[in-house]
């Protein structure tokens, strides 16, 4: 027998069983144990043994990526329970949700946790995207991970959308009608795309079955696989980007600390705080359940889910093909190509690239915050390109004309910005990102709070 076999044979059955389950130390006695645990643990070994000391700081990443994963875990845990009660057919769906809420032990709480986790997940993911962007964590080895992250965002939005239909109440039915109605405007393939997304010529039993299948199987599987890939790429890029101030060069050999306990305990605390927060929200605020869906009566107003209201707001100002296809496509292309632009310098780790970048970013945000509401109100009451240019067909006056004007203004601005700030193209791209991001946030806020009956502009208290 070898020495280790002799070791294994020691002790009573309990000792031997315990040692067969835990092959290494469970409670670390010293730093060697701590390293060994991180290396040999199934879940923990996705972390490095040591990490740069500067990355420990909570305010470097705000734990947003990890929080997204926690929220996804909550969604999976509550979702797996919900599947046992929910019935995916138009006749039974609403009643099964009522049953869940009233008859199932803590059914209402489980549903609430699911609902709030889903909504906060979108916000947290977008904040994570902003953090990654503003710390320049998309250069070099991290370029493709940005794309993987965009894929995750898409899957999560699709999950939210398919889940939105499940209750089959007035809110769900008409929100899905509106959004799939928008899809019909995509040129050439719009009609067929709409039929696929609706599961048929209209929203009915096949829609619900399709969405249920996607929401409970395809999308979670995709998310798990893509998430694993996303974490892997972070490891391969030597972890999170290391923060530095604009004057410092990137560090070759940063000072490191042990992952266990420094990082892991912080992560544990952040996770527990997040879960507690979701619990409190879920205990106080109920997930909505309106009247059962009535295909014969559209509510007034009929709004898309809040994360798509920015696009619905665009639809009120531009020609449909422009608002539904051209602008979103351009935005998607911009996001996808973002890491691959030929930047003048590698600004990984510097918050907003430089002092110039911070200044320009501030200006861009303020400009968007002023210009966007002004344009929205102007378009509602003043602007009428179709009326001023009677000879031109409406689909040009409502799309290319305002777009051309806007592009002209941007061009003038760009020249001014370069002169005033001596900005490199890094900072210019960042300003554009901030501007359009802020504008889209304003559009979404307008759609949520300032649109009332007939989608007219109203003060929020008149909604």
């Amino acid at each position: 027998m070898s020495a280790s076999d002799k070791e294994d044979q020691r002790g009573n059955i309990v000792d031997r069983f315990r040692r067969s389950v835990f092959r290494g130390p469970v409670r670390p006695r010293d730093d060697t144990d701590r390293k060994r645990i991180v290396l040999s643990h199934l879940v923990l070994h996705n972390r490095p043994v040591r990490l740069p000391e500067k990355n420990i700081r909570y305010t470097h990443t705000w734990g947003l990526g990890g929080s997204s994963m926690i929220l996804f875990s909550l969604l999976a845990a509550t979702g797996m329970l919900l599947i046992f009660v929910y019935e995916p057919s138009p006749d039974a769906a609403y009643a099964s949700i009522v049953r869940l809420r009233d008859d199932v032990f803590f059914g209402k709480l489980v549903r609430n946790i699911h609902y709030w986790s889903a909504n906060f997940l979108i916000v947290i993911m977008l904040l994570h995207m902003l953090r990654v962007y503003f710390t320049g964590a998309y250069h070099g080895a991290r370029q493709f991970n940005w794309i993987i992250g965009l894929g995750l965002l898409l899957c999560v939005l699709a999950s939210n959308f398919t889940g939105y239909l499940m209750p089959w109440d007035q809110l769900s039915y008409w929100a899905i009608t509106i959004v799939t109605g928008m899809i019909g405007y995509v040129p050439l393939i719009g009609g067929r795309l709409q039929d696929v997304v609706r599961g048929g010529p209209e929203i009915g039993p096949s829609t619900l079955v399709d969405y249920y299948a996607a929401h409970t199987t395809l999308l979670p599987a995709l998310i798990i696989v893509i998430m694993a890939f996303h974490f892997w790429r972070v490891r391969k890029a030597d972890g999170v980007v290391i923060p530095r101030s604009p004057e410092d060069p990137p560090e070759e050999k940063p000072a490191t600390v042990l992952t266990l306990p420094n990082l892991l305990f912080r992560e544990l605390v952040a996770a527990l705080v997040l879960i507690a927060f979701i619990m409190v929200i879920a205990l106080i605020f109920d997930a909505p359940l309106g009247e059962p869906a009535n295909p014969g009566m559209s509510p007034n107003p009929a709004k898309a889910p809040w994360y798509f209201l920015g696009f619905q707001e665009l639809l009120l100002h531009f020609d449909p093909i422009f608002a539904v296809f051209v602008i979103p496509f351009a935005a998607a292309m911009g996001l996808i190509l973002l890491p691959y632009i030929r930047y003048d310098k590698d600004t990984s780790g510097i918050l907003m690239m430089s002092r110039v970048g911070r200044r320009m970013g501030r200006e861009a945000a303020i400009t968007a915050a002023v210009v966007t509401p002004v344009l929205i109100v102007a378009d509602e009451y003043l602007l009428d390109f179709a009326g001023w240019l009677p000879g031109v067909p409406p689909f040009i006056t409502n799309s290319l004309v305002p777009a051309a004007l806007f592009a002209g203004v941007c061009f003038v601005f760009r020249a001014r910005l370069i002169k005033r700030h001596a900005a490199s193209n890094n900072e210019l791209v960042q300003s554009a990102f901030v501007f359009f991001g802020a504008a889209f946030v304003i559009l979404t806020l307008t759609g949520v709070f300032f649109r009332g009956p007939g989608m007219a502009l109203v003060w929020p208290w008149h909604r």
Binding site: T177, D210, S298, M455
Partner: protein, 174 residues
Amino acid sequence: MSDKIKNPKNKEDARDDALSRRSFMWKLWIVLGGVALAEYLLIALDFVRPHPSKKQGNEDDIFVAGPLDRFAPKTVTAFPAGRFYLARLEDGGFIALSRTCTHLGCTVPWNADEGRFVCPCHASAFTMTGDVLSPPAPRALDQYAVRIENGVVKVDVSKPIRRRSFESSQVTYI
């Protein structure tokens, strides 16, 4: 001659042959793998595409609206069960209209006082014949074929007919 029998090819040629044979086999496996993947995707796509249930041959969805004289000229009657409106125009002709707004799909109610359809979602308005009165609707309401048999008005609700705007040929007369 004996040379050729002893060394049919020299060593370099034999190596080249082996390499190209190997690379060919690799490429063949990759191509076959690609074909298998494409097969899976094609099958998956057909699972996802809508499969409407097939109707029996001649049995279209014929909705019996009622006898002629039940419908006065210049009125619109709603049929929630059939999901359409039946409009009888001033000259006595019938036109059956879909209740789905052509903008984003909301259900349009008929406003008898104003004499027009007004959509609650984005305020598109349509005339009694389904023509667009006010945007954002891009085209007239879809219509359904109307048949009048033995004094009874019947509407074929299986096929909504798309049209840009109202034309007198779309009206059905007795």
